[in-house]
Symmetry: C2
Subunit: 162 residues, 2 copies
């Protein structure tokens, strides 16, 4: 990682706690992938759960973000959605750069994620077992936390795992 | 553009109307850029206005997204934020792949954008004239509209301009 710019604060326990809370509470997120066709970064909305401090998404092979991470596992999540009205830049949010790992469809890991995903997102039962849908673990590489104007931190995977 | 997959519907006037509304009503958005340091797509939150069917953002040179678009103008916006509770995947949203163009600080274009930005985002008066802040036009190249589960469209710049 490059030298930390002066505008980035030293990571403290309050920042770590906020980062973990944002990740744990996220029901959905914006995911950025590289579009295999154009090379542009492409952003879409996905449902998310967190398993062992790792975001997990359910994604259809037919969707643009899945085509992206199957071609290049580098992706980012933006978590922390503004609640209601007010200045959206005051609301804390975090960008997590991740490497995507597809979860094998058979086996205990899939079964356990399936159960937890259904618990958090009951409507996903309509498509969770469709053959084109898979779980992907998005393994954090580094994160940028923005706790509001001027409150910026960089975090590493250990800071998120707690 | 590659051949349109079977899951993409033919663009009709209803889709164009929804796309223009999402763009015009957006107060903030998720922006995806390429991180110059890691090559990862990186997603953050920004305030937005729309000028002549083109999204315009106000961005600090110190921010990660500005570093990204100064290095590589390819970026994406996700507009269409879920309102309140409910299934976020039912809420319409649109991914717009754009090329970023910095607006010169002196001149009529900057003055006009400044006025409109302040009108829409009054709190930005606290930093809009800081020397590290600039406007960028995000010129649409193509867009993917998702009007809800199974309602996907591809749109071209003309579809957005109306």
């Amino acid at each position: 990682m490059a030298d930390k710019p002066a505008v980035i604060r030293d990571t403290d326990n309050e920042a770590r706690e906020l980062a973990r809370t944002l990740l744990a509470q996220a029901r959905y997120a914006s995911i950025g992938v590289i579009d295999p066709e154009t090379g542009f970064p492409s952003v879409s909305r996905i449902l998310v759960i967190t398993d062992k401090a790792t975001p997990v998404i359910l994604a259809s092979r037919l969707s643009a973000h899945t085509q992206g991470i199957l071609n290049d596992p580098r992706c980012s999540l933006l978590v922390g959605e503004p609640a209601g009205k007010g200045d959206p830049l005051v609301h804390p949010r975090m960008t997590v750069q991740c490497l995507a790992q597809q979860v094998e469809r058979d086996g205990e890991e899939h079964a356990s994620l399936r159960e937890r995903f259904l618990e958090r997102h009951p409507k996903s039962k309509l498509y969770i077992d469709f053959p084109d849908f898979s779980f992907f673990r998005l393994v954090p590489q580094k994160a940028a936390l923005n706790g509001g104007f001027g409150k910026a931190f960089w975090l590493m995977p250990d800071d998120l795992a707690g």
